[in-house]
């Protein structure tokens, strides 16, 4: 149920983000979801793409510094309080959400949110138990 996410190190210099996105575009990789975490000195671009292996290949070729890790994609009802419910159940279980960001497109009537927590396995269990849908990788990549 875990989805592959690629994190790319962004140096604090003009045009660096463009270089990364450009490298992916040239490899015909469509970015499904993205987020940038930044400090005043550097940033980290996180992306979800249909073909993580191809993206990694393109990034490696471009000499970028990146890392692949697992996240979970959660479908929350696209209504007020939808996200709050998911976060509340995790909080009750003592699970710490490191970051989250949303998908560009929607699956049916649900908004898709990417979650990174300190305990991925128990997060999945907790969310499932609370009736929150976890979107499997296959579906996520084709969103």
């Amino acid at each position: 149920m875990k989805v592959k996410q690629i994190s790319i190190f962004l140096e604090n210099k003009q045009g660096h983000l463009l270089e990364v996105v450009d490298a992916l575009a040239k490899a015909k990789i469509n970015i499904r979801a993205l987020s940038i975490a930044d400090t005043s000195e550097f940033g980290i671009l996180r992306i979800i793409v249909p073909d993580p292996e191809a993206a990694k290949k393109a990034l490696k070729k471009g000499g970028f510094t990146f890392n692949e890790n697992d996240i979970i994609a959660v479908g929350v009802s696209d209504t007020p309080g939808g996200l709050a419910k998911a976060l509340a159940v995790l909080s009750e279980e003592g699970i710490n959400v490191e970051y989250l960001y949303a998908f560009v497109s929607k699956a049916e009537e649900k908004a898709v949110v990417v979650l990174k927590t300190d305990k991925l396995e128990s997060s999945i269990k907790t969310l499932k138990k609370a009736g929150i849908s976890i979107i499997p990788p296959k579906e996520v990549y084709s969103l």
């Binding site: 994190s7 190190f9 975490a37 400090t39 000195e41 550097f42 996180r46 000499g63 970028f64 510094t65």
Partner: protein
């Protein structure tokens, strides 16, 4: 006015005889007391009695900074360690520093040379010297301090940094002279200007002694104008006492090198051939008066030339020109001496950092260290990177006493050069 008129105006021929006498004593001392030198001399079949003229010194092998490092800490002592009263160190290119030992009379003679220098530039008993060099393992501040005490001036042992307090001390104690690095002097002059202080009206400074790093004639003029003072160039190195090896007189046309204490040669750094006066090359110095740790033909790595003409001040000791370059990589931020090696040591001890780094100097009080992150340790976690960045800043601050800015870079961003890479990018305009 002279501190020691007889020695400072000694006739050339008398000086030569004195040099030969002292050279032979020094050679004898190292031959019989320092195994390193005895082995070196024996390897080329030279006995002390073979050195029968000052010129014959060129038959002797050089001593390099590596020799001092290899004999760290006490391998080059010519008298028992118990006779030593002080050790100073100077950073080397490897982890260990160069250790230089002084006996009581070595300290006294070093101070005496400083006294010559100060009196030569007009310092008198009623002057007040604010010593803004770093007190500690470096020779700069302490050797000057002892020399100034001999002259009898009032010393304000301020050390570098805390510019606001420095100005307060100058005002309150009526400081008439500064001992300071060129970079800090520029910073100070600029600071005084921006604070709206008029040096002529609000301060009492008449002169400044600048040393420890090369600087240009333009910088001297700029500092002289900004502070309305006379700036005198000072030359020295820890291996040869520290300051007081050569110093400018009131003519400000080159530095008198005290030839009764040192034999100066200029060599071609590549061929090691001795060059005639007036030719630019590497300065090589031999101590003539040092008893604790005499050094024979020490390669200073400083590029200068010997000015052959007589000086109008009446001193007969030949002058060397300002130092054109120093292969030494030391730089100064906020008046603190920093060696790239110190930064490298901290970075290399930090997990997550790649080999390549760069030191960028944009102003006299800003130090930026650009660090490449290690590709294989990148885990995509912002907090981990921020923690690493903070850890580097703190570790550098602890080591350097100056808080740097640390930039994290993508691996492979910094230029990689063959051999010794250019670590320090100095964008400051001196």
């Amino acid at each position: 006015m002279f501190w020691n008129e007889e020695l400072e105006t000694i006739k050339a021929s008398t000086l030569k005889n004195l040099q030969l006498k002292r050279l032979r004593e020094t050679i004898g001392r190292v031959y019989f007391n320092v195994p390193f030198y005895r082995d070196r001399f024996q390897a080329i079949n030279i006995k002390p009695e073979d050195i029968n003229s000052v010129e014959a010194i060129s038959r002797l092998p050089f001593t390099t900074r590596e020799d001092i490092l290899n004999n760290y800490p006490t391998g080059l002592l010519a008298v028992p360690r118990d006779e030593m009263v002080r050790v100073h160190t100077s950073s080397g290119t490897t982890g260990k520093p160069k250790a230089i030992f002084f006996t009581k009379s070595d300290i006294d003679r070093a101070a005496d040379l400083i006294a010559r220098c100060l009196v030569m530039t007009g310092m008198r008993k009623n002057d007040v010297l604010q010593n803004m060099m770093t007190y500690g393992l470096f020779t700069g501040a302490l050797v000057m301090h002892y020399g100034a005490e001999k002259v009898g001036v009032l010393i304000v042992p301020a050390g570098p940094g805390n510019t606001e307090r420095q100005i307060m001390l100058m005002k309150d104690f009526h400081t008439t002279a500064l001992h300071i690095t060129p970079s800090y002097a520029l910073y100070l002059a600029d600071y005084i200007k921006t604070k709206g202080i008029d040096p002529k009206r609000d301060l009492f400074i008449k002169r400044a002694y600048l040393g420890a790093e090369p600087y240009s004639e333009e910088t001297r003029k700029k500092i002289e104008e900004m502070l309305a003072i006379d700036v005198y160039n000072s030359y020295g190195l820890s291996e040869m006492n520290g300051p007081g090896v050569a110093f400018e007189c009131e003519m400000k046309r080159g530095m008198h090198l005290w030839e009764d204490n040192f034999i100066a040669e200029i060599i071609d750094p590549d061929t090691e051939e001795v060059l005639p006066d007036g030719t630019k090359g590497e300065l090589v110095l031999t101590t003539l008066q040092r008893e604790g740790m005499p050094l024979i033909r020490y390669r200073t790595r400083d590029i200068t030339l010997i000015i052959p003409e007589q000086c109008a001040c009446g001193r007969t000791h030949r002058r060397i020109d300002r130092i054109f370059g120093r292969s030494d990589d030391m730089f100064i931020v906020k008046g603190v001496n920093i060696f790239p090696q110190q930064i490298e040591n901290v970075l290399m001890a930090t997990k997550g950092v790649a080999q390549n780094y760069q030191i960028v100097l944009e102003s006299l009080d800003n130090l930026t260290v650009r660090v490449e992150i290690a590709r294989d340790l990148f885990d995509g976690n912002v907090t981990h990177l921020v923690n690493m960045q903070n850890k580097i800043v703190e570790a550098l601050k602890k080591e350097l006493l100056v808080k740097p800015k640390v930039e994290l870079l993508e691996p492979g961003t910094l230029p990689v050069s063959e051999g010794k890479s250019k670590r320090v990018i100095d964008n400051r305009t001196l």
